[in-house]
């Protein structure tokens, strides 16, 4: 039996927390349990006794994609009642959580995509874990959840989280700077049309396009200055309701990643149709503005003191858990479809206004960017 090299131990809330940085599993234990761990690894006689543990794991992104992805109950007041385990029960629990491992080969096989909704053996990527948690564990329909974790119930505002403190706080002044009155904009994958309306508010003529009938219905209920919304199979076939060369600008937010890393193994992820279509819709010299979760830090555990955050990055190039393509993949792919990169920004909180609501999140996002904004220009 071994302790995988990715099992960390840190002291939080007055107890030791054992944490597998890859599996994102955790158990809080009293100090005596550490002696059991050591005896197991050294193949020595396990000290018999009773050990207090707290089950501190929870699917922390069930409250939102931008919420703390560490999967720990951070406040001691949220911890469940302690459990008293024998040495054998403790070892069994540690093994169940991959904090110790008997069969390393079987352990490594768990880092594969899930094969079905009820595949709890393979860890799968974040999308799969989220879908499984919402559907099979919480029995929540992910489609309205997806909107609800970002927008207020009436869809006219953004909830008090990093979407607001980082994304919206950056994009509102960005659109005011970047969009000239009368410009034609296509918002690809516009969802319920929140940013479409913001761009229309800057004087643009906006067409919002999305494949979801539910989102289109909600988008059309928008404010009086509402842009036009059309439904299309974005990325699967051309958006031919938009004429060649019509757009001065194409905007796409939190959606391009799906064309690199699919939500489900059965889906095809191929950005070629989409990028050729964006190129077609733009006038010569038109801009393609891409706002996406940051290639490196989105979903990395938020460890350390909120004022001195650090993280453990378990992957970058080969995504097993992650859902954002490496920066090179995004840039090379887009540029390969007839675009030049003309701008790049990493987004941080605009000010300290979110600290009162989410000190850990805002502290982390102040050091590690949650989004990247890429500006491309159409060549030829």
């Amino acid at each position: 039996m071994i302790v995988p090299a990715e099992t960390l131990a840190f002291f939080e809330n007055g107890s030791w927390v054992l944490y597998n940085a890859f599996a994102r599993t955790a158990l809080a234990v009293e100090a005596g349990a550490m002696a059991v761990l050591e005896a197991v690894v050294r193949d020595e006689t396990v000290p018999q006794g009773s050990y207090t543990v707290w089950s501190v794991n929870w699917f922390s992104n069930e409250t939102g994609l931008l919420d703390d992805p560490t999967r720990l109950l951070r406040d001691r007041s949220d911890w469940p009642e302690p459990e008293i385990l024998s040495a054998a029960q403790l070892i069994e629990r540690l093994e169940k959580l991959s904090l110790v491992v008997t069969n390393q080969e079987a352990y490594l096989e768990r880092f594969a995509p899930k094969r079905s909704l009820l595949d709890f053996q393979r860890f799968g990527n974040f999308h799969q874990q989220l879908g499984q948690h919402l559907l099979a564990v919480k029995r929540i329909d992910p489609r309205p959840w997806w909107c609800g974790q970002k927008f207020t119930n009436d869809g006219t505002g953004i909830r008090e989280n990093l979407y607001k403190f980082v994304q919206e706080a950056h994009m509102r002044p960005y659109f005011e700077r970047a969009i000239a009155k009368g410009e034609r904009v296509v918002d690809v994958g516009c969802g319920i049309g929140y940013y479409s309306r913001m761009m229309a508010g800057c004087g643009a003529e906006v067409i919002g396009v999305d494949p979801s009938a539910d989102y289109m219905e909600r988008a059309e209920k928008g404010a009086a200055q509402s842009p036009r919304f059309v439904r299309a199979k974005v990325g699967a076939e051309p958006m031919d309701m938009i004429e060649d060369g019509w757009a001065d600008m194409v905007f796409m937010s939190d959606a391009l990643l799906f064309y690199f890393i699919p939500e489900a193994p059965t889906q095809k992820a191929d950005p070629a149709v989409l990028l050729a279509d964006i190129h077609r819709m733009l006038r010569p010299g038109g801009r393609f503005i891409s706002l996406e979760p940051h290639a490196a830090f989105f979903l990395a555990p938020r460890l350390g003191d909120p004022s001195r955050p650090f993280t453990v990055l378990t992957e970058y190039r080969h995504k097993r858990f992650g859902i954002t393509p490496p920066l090179t993949d995004t840039l090379k792919t887009v540029m390969g479809h007839g675009f030049a990169l003309t701008g790049f920004e990493e987004l941080y909180p605009a000010d300290a206004s979110g600290e009162a609501v989410d000190p850990r999140g805002v502290g982390f996002a102040s050091e590690f960017p949650q989004w990247q904004l890429l500006e491309f220009r159409k060549l030829g």
């Binding site: 094969r115 009820l118 595949d119």
Partner: protein, 87 residues
């Protein structure tokens, strides 16, 4: 074939034929790993079964290996319907 087995088979057959030369082979069919139905369809089937048999699957059932096959799922249904855990 029991009522639960017939119900599960008929449900899956609505999407695609369930492979297997005889009843035994059909009951051993791992419809989850085979990708017979997608995630939403799997959840819809769970809810339909719960409604039909007036049962409620617990996390331990959804996480068990038995639920992966037609026969295994039917056995869980029968266990719950016999009083394992009422809705």
């Amino acid at each position: 074939m029991g009522a639960a087995q017939e119900f599960v088979l008929a449900y899956l057959e609505k999407f695609n034929p369930v492979p297997g030369a005889d009843a035994e082979a059909k009951l051993a069919y791992d419809f989850l790993d085979a990708g017979h139905i997608d995630s939403f369809e799997t959840m819809q089937m769970i809810l339909t079964i719960e409604d039909h048999f007036k049962i409620r699957f617990q996390e331990e059932h959804l996480q068990s290996d038995d639920i992966r096959t037609v026969g295994g799922l039917a056995a869980i249904i029968e266990h719950l319907a016999a009083g394992g855990a009422k809705a």
